[in-house]
Symmetry: C2
Subunit: 202 residues, 2 copies
DNA sequence: GGTTTGACAGACCAACTAGTTTGTTATTTA
DNA sequence: TAAATAACAAACTAGTTGGTCTGTCAAACC
């Protein structure tokens, strides 16, 4: 199967997933319209329901095949190479801060958006989403455990608790920016987050 | 106009607002169905569109007349009587923790829910919501300023930043619980939040 | 006490939306 | 190469949803 083939089912499926991910990011799953995805991809109902059995199945696929890899690549994998959690985490957040533009500030975190909207509404969504949070949490918690083992992190901090708190704080900050629509709120809260992280040093 | 009158327009309007608030809390504004509100209130289209010009107008009224007073009474007003921010804040969070039940843990914070869903979608919602956050922020920031004036809070902390961070952290924690569906995440992150708040003492 | 007006009831409508069905064509397979 | 199948196209459907319209009755007003 050549890349220039008139019919490239894998690519077609991926295009649907990518557009759906973007639409969910902008409007939420409930605001996602199958017709709108088809309009953007220039596909038809026939194509869509050939690849996905329902809108819900699309939602599941977006979580498993787009959202999860996105989070894992961007936030989970890097944590596994952390040696000095405090230093590396601040570096990570600094880089993320520089990469953020107004659009992202406005749309927020795709994982948290979906969590807030869908967790209470659809158990099949909730379990998929929770698994992703747990991956993140475990990697962050493990980083602090290693930090304690190497004597860089205070022995009295509880990695599990700190990981929960840091993820919550980061997502909370991003969430606040969605309504303020500027990055001052991000930097103001970010300064305190940095202070807190630094307070974990041994 | 007696309270037992067959027609009590003020009560009718309030019933619609209360049910709509609850429905939005459970399903979001996009998931809110006018028909469902009418079913629950046992009213009709005639009644609804007599009191509200549109679903959007209902949304605005819910924010202004239900959500805002709810936040102000529960989270803003108490802050104005804070003398020792660290002590009073921890007391406030302890009480809130005890009041929380599984249902609330599952539905999350009504203000944050609406923020995450509607801020990017409807500017008229965003400005109303932002004003409520700002009330909360200002009251919390002012409490820390008073705490500094009375020497209870470290002079190097920036009340504005701390207020932003604390609100973000609290909402982030509540948001995390929505997917985990248990209160351990709440307590784990809460322990760190308490540590941070205590670190602000002079 | 008659009139006006506010507060509804409920049938109705048009647009939307997820999903179906039937048909067509490219691609693979025997 | 011919048959089978995968990958679509597109018209269609049934149910939903916000909103309208006409009518009715209670309550205020004169």
């Amino acid at each position: 199967m050549s890349a220039t083939a008139l019919r490239n089912p894998d690519l077609t499926r991926q295009r649907i997933l990518d557009v759906a991910f973007e639409e969910i990011l902008l409007k939420g799953y409930q605001g996602l319209r199958v017709d709108q995805v088809l309009k953007i991809t220039a596909l038809t109902k026939g194509a869509f329901y050939h690849h996905f059995s329902s809108k819900q199945a699309l939602g599941h696929a977006v979580i498993d095949e787009v959202l999860k890899p996105w989070i894992v690549d961007k936030w989970v994998k890097p944590l596994k190479q952390f040696n000095d959690p405090v230093k590396d985490l601040i570096e990570m957040l600094t880089v993320a801060r520089q990469e953020i533009n107004m659009t992202e500030l406005h749309t927020g975190c795709p994982l948290n958006n979906l969590t807030q909207e869908m967790s209470p509404l659809d158990e099949s969504f909730r379990v998929r989403i929770t698994a992703i949070w747990q991956l993140w949490h475990d990697a962050l918690s493990a980083a602090f455990e290693r930090g304690q083992a190497s004597g860089l992190i205070r022995q009295d901090v509880i990695p599990n608790n700190v990981a929960r708190f840091l993820i919550a704080a980061m997502e909370g900050i991003i969430g606040q920016c969605k309504c303020y629509m500027n990055d001052t709120a991000f930097d103001e809260a970010g300064a305190c987050l940095k202070d807190y992280i630094e307070s974990l040093s041994a």
